[in-house]
């Protein structure tokens, strides 16, 4: 390990790192704009200049590898002068519009100028002005503010794998653009807003809505997919103003997908904020007392086997626990948390987990995707796969519909019959799986949510067992969920009990009149029309697909409005925290279920969140161990049987509209129209672009 001297103290640092990183390890902060630990080195902002002995000029530390015996100084007059000079140059063309800039208060340029910059400008000429660019419905631009650090270009090229931004022209005329002014198409594009060290790229939905210092920051968990991204919810009053990522190396690193970041405006629209009861064919607002009374009357004398529960994709563990306890007391076996009909068992645990873990992807050397499009189902898992691919020595093959995943994928075919051949060793891929050191397979909901899903699961298990995917030190069997609630639901055993019906069975039985009451906990992705014959109770936050068909609506809380537990696709248990209160009469979901159980005389005796969470741990001890991934028990699962020839595909048809919150969000709707369906951008927005953003 090289020894270096930094500011007179000797340090031993790992070989191969840069001077910048060595200084960071030594706890010395070096100001920078273009350097970012997760992106390639550009070395173009010159802010990180330091003095190195025997070097005639100051050196850009981010691009300089450490060498043994280097003597580095970061606090000499020369370094201070260099920083001051760089900032003065950057500020020559940077507008002084901090008071109206959305980045104000959290701007690197502002902060560094305060600490290292000059106190005035000697530049008397005109500043340059750059026309704003149209980058789509999510990112607003003020290109005059751009300091050309190229972080946005590097992010889209390296992490997102969708190289759409570039720097055209050169020198003084250099501009960041997507050239044709079309919307960016990456699902991770929102991250360039965080990466931008100045106010050039801002969030369009958040533009001019709030100042960063007036927001309350609440650390929480995202539910838009099953990755369980760590997020920070920024609220003002009772309103969610924006959502930002939070660092978690094992889950989302420091990125989040656009759905996680921008769907929050759906939290303010189409909300169910008052209980409603169908009277003479019309849903009418009622108070809680009347709603509960109506339910009691409807449920009086109804035997358990005539009542069914379907749990939706955004439900938290607390409310699902109440469903479980309530159904037990009603003696109803018809409980299902798999509203897409995925043929997943509730045990062993390894059967439904992403066992390799998200970080574990970085150790794999061969990956087989089965009926999944990770780019849409879990953009951050796809980003990990891409990260692994970029390092080299990683091959990805796919069985299922083709889709550009931003890295090369070998297409084996789209029929599940191929799995049979691989399992029996009659396909060349078997050999490659066996030869690989750390092979993995990812089984998507597209492969499981179909009539032969259990047989496909069985085949996948056989492949995993026979090709060395499951060993003492490695588990390459992965199920990629699309619903944030799913793993928690399976952990709590929310699958049909003995004699119980699954979602398809419940729908059919309701049509036949065998099931008279269906309780939907935020379940919107089912064919609700088929429940006409039954009394439908919908408990949830949004008036989406199911609510119009309900007979009784109980308004619940969204994920930002409750302290709740979620389990991600790896089996990682994480807690979301309340950032705002549910609107109007809406209540936290476990409380509603608790009240309902009491109203119908089958009280679940859990009276506060503490009791609920204690009971959670009793039912499933795993749920008490936060933020760890424990290897799931392996065992026999899936059912041997014939598989059909129907092609495998992803269950997600539209990345931006996958759940009730997204569908209520105008931003997501616009993304779907412009980015996926190619609708032209709004003319009034394009008309504003001729301006340079800062001339009034």
């Amino acid at each position: 390990m090289p020894k270096v001297v930094i500011n007179g103290k000797e340090y031993e640092v790992p070989a191969g790192i840069t001077v910048f990183q060595a200084c960071e390890l030594a706890g010395i902060e070096i100001p920078h704009f273009c350097y970012h630990p997760r992106l390639n080195i550009a070395g173009n902002c010159r802010m990180c200049l330091v003095e190195i002995e025997r070097s005639p000029k100051p050196v850009a530390s981010c691009a300089m590898p450490v060498a043994d015996g280097m003597v580095i100084r970061t606090d000499t007059p020369l370094v201070h002068k260099a920083r001051k000079g760089v900032l003065e140059f950057l500020l020559i063309n940077h507008p002084l519009d901090c008071p109206i800039c959305d980045q104000g208060g959290e701007c690197d340029l502002q902060d560094l100028t305060l600490f290292y910059g000059p106190d005035h400008s000697r530049f008397r000429e005109n500043k340059r002005a750059v026309a704003d660019k149209y980058l789509g419905p999510l990112i607003s631009t003020h290109m005059t503010r751009c300091i050309h650090c190229t972080r946005c270009i590097r992010f889209l090229e390296e992490v997102a794998g969708v190289p759409e931004l570039g720097a055209v022209e050169r020198g003084e005329h250099m501009e960041i653009t997507n050239w044709l002014e079309r919307a960016l198409t990456s699902e991770l594009q929102g991250n360039v807003i965080d990466l931008c060290p100045v106010g050039a790229l801002n969030s369009k939905p958040y533009a001019y809505r709030a100042r960063s210092w007036e927001l309350t920051k609440v650390e929480s968990i995202d539910v838009m997919d099953a990755v369980g991204s760590n997020i920070r919810v920024d609220v003002r009053g009772n309103e969610v103003m924006r959502i930002l990522p939070r660092l978690h190396e094992d889950v989302n690193e420091e990125w989040i997908s656009d759905r996680s970041r921008f769907a929050y405006d759906g939290l303010k629209r189409r909300r169910l904020d008052v209980p409603m009861l169908r009277k003479a064919g019309r849903l009418e607002p009622v108070d809680w007392r009347e709603a509960l009374r109506a339910l009691r009357e409807r449920m009086a004398g109804l035997p358990g086997e005539r009542i069914a529960f379907i749990v939706g994709d955004l439900a938290c563990c607390e409310s699902m626990l109440l469903v479980r306890e309530f159904a037990l007391r009603l003696e109803s076996p018809h409980v299902d948390c798999r509203q897409d009909g995925a043929k997943l068992p509730a045990s062993p645990r390894a059967a439904y987990l992403f066992n390799t873990s998200i970080r574990g992807i970085e150790e794999a050397d061969l990956c087989l995707l089965i009926g999944t499009n990770p780019r849409w189902e879990a953009p951050l898992i796809n980003a990990r796969l891409r990260k692994r691919w970029r390092r080299g020595g990683f091959q990805v093959a796919r069985i299922g519909a083709s889709f550009d995943l931003t890295y090369p994928v070998e297409h084996l075919g789209d029929s599940p019959k191929l799995l049979e051949r691989i399992a029996k060793g009659r396909h060349p891929f078997t050999k490659r799986l066996k030869a690989a050191e750390r092979p993995m397979l990812i089984l998507g909901m597209g492969a499981l949510a179909r009539p032969d899903g259990a047989a496909i699961l069985h085949l996948a298990r056989r492949i995993a067992e026979s090709c060395g995917l499951v060993r003492e030190d490695w588990n390459g069997f992965n199920v990629l969920h699309t619903a944030a609630a799913r793993v928690g639901g399976l952990d709590l055993g929310l699958v049909p009990g003995e004699g119980g019906l699954d979602v398809a069975g419940i729908l059919a039985a309701a049509e036949r009149g065998e099931i008279e009451l269906v309780y939907l906990l935020g379940a919107d992705e089912i064919e609700v029309e088929r429940l006409k014959g039954a009394f439908v109770v919908y408990q949830g936050s949004h008036g989406d697909r199911a609510a119009p068909h309900a007979d009784l609506i109980l308004p619940g809380a969204a994920y930002t409005e409750k302290n709740a537990t979620y389990v991600n696709t790896e089996g990682r248990v994480q807690r979301a925290r309340r950032a705002a209160f549910p609107p109007g009469e809406a209540r936290e979901d476990w409380k509603i279920l608790r009240a309902v159980s009491e109203a119908v005389g089958r009280t679940v005796p859990l009276d506060d969140l503490w009791a609920v969470q204690r009971r959670l741990v009793e039912v499933q001890p795993m749920l008490g161990r936060l933020d760890v991934v424990e290897p799931g028990a392996w065992g026999a699962f899936g059912e041997a049987g014939p598989v059909s020839d129907a092609p495998l595909s992803s269950p997600i048809q539209d990345f931006y509209l996958t759940n009730p919150i997204c569908r209520a969000s105008p931003t997501m709707r616009r993304c779907s129209l412009e980015i996926l369906q190619g609708a032209p951008p709004p003319q009034e927005e394009l008309a504003l672009l001729g301006a340079t953003g800062t001339h009034g």
Partner: protein, 206 residues
């Protein structure tokens, strides 16, 4: 310009096109260039290919040509735009096929580049940055052409014309206008960049 049509070196401005493709001969040339680079590094061929495309399209690059090159090299389109906009030798706006580039950097300027520009304006009938009315010439200033010893300098097609003044510039341009190809190099009669007043060293050499 349709791909089959031969290049017209003295033609008018080529139109903007929806589609662009190399002529069979140019495609052969392009393939030879691409083959110079190792597998997976085809993007290195972007500069020669852009030049080839620009020559084929009468001196400028329509967007269709950039997209065509990007596809040929499996590059992201924006990367080709970056390169094409970075270098001054590529023209992304409709420009006439004969580029008259006059060096106006300090040494040439001191030696009379203004006079050269004046002659250009008069003979071509257009301002700097414009196409001539006959659609054959494009006049522009250029940063240092690197021939300061023979300042002032003008660069047309593949030839440098050096040691210019007002009259000599006029003569060169008029000859080109007539379709001739005037002798490139110093127009003052001296050889290369030897001293203007005759040799002072190596007197025994011819």
């Amino acid at each position: 310009m349709s791909p089959k049509e031969p290049r017209k070196p003295h033609g008018a401005i080529a139109p903007d096109v929806e589609r662009f493709a190399f002529t069979p001969e140019n495609l052969e040339k392009a393939k030879a260039v691409i083959a110079r680079y190792p597998e997976g590094r085809q993007a290195s061929a972007v500069l020669p290919l852009l030049h080839l495309a620009q020559d084929q399209h009468g001196g400028w690059l329509p967007q269709a040509a950039l997209d065509y090159v990007a596809e040929l090299l499996s590059m992201p389109r924006i990367k080709v735009y970056e390169v094409a906009s970075f270098y001054d030798m590529f023209h992304l706006e409709p420009t006439a096929p004969i580029k008259v580039r006059v060096c106006t950097t300090t040494p040439c300027w001191l030696c009379g580049a203004e006079e050269v520009l004046k002659a250009c304006r008069e003979v071509l009938g257009c301002e700097v940055g414009e196409n001539s009315p006959d659609g054959r010439f494009f006049l522009r200033e250029f940063e240092c052409l690197g021939a300061c010893a023979n300042a002032p300098v003008m660069w047309i097609g593949e030839d440098y014309f050096e040691d210019l003044d007002y009259e000599r510039t006029k003569a060169v341009l008029e000859a080109i206008k007539r379709g001739e190809r005037p002798k490139p190099g110093p127009q003052s009669g001296r050889r290369g960049s030897m001293p203007a007043g005759g040799k002072t060293t190596l007197l025994d050499l011819d």
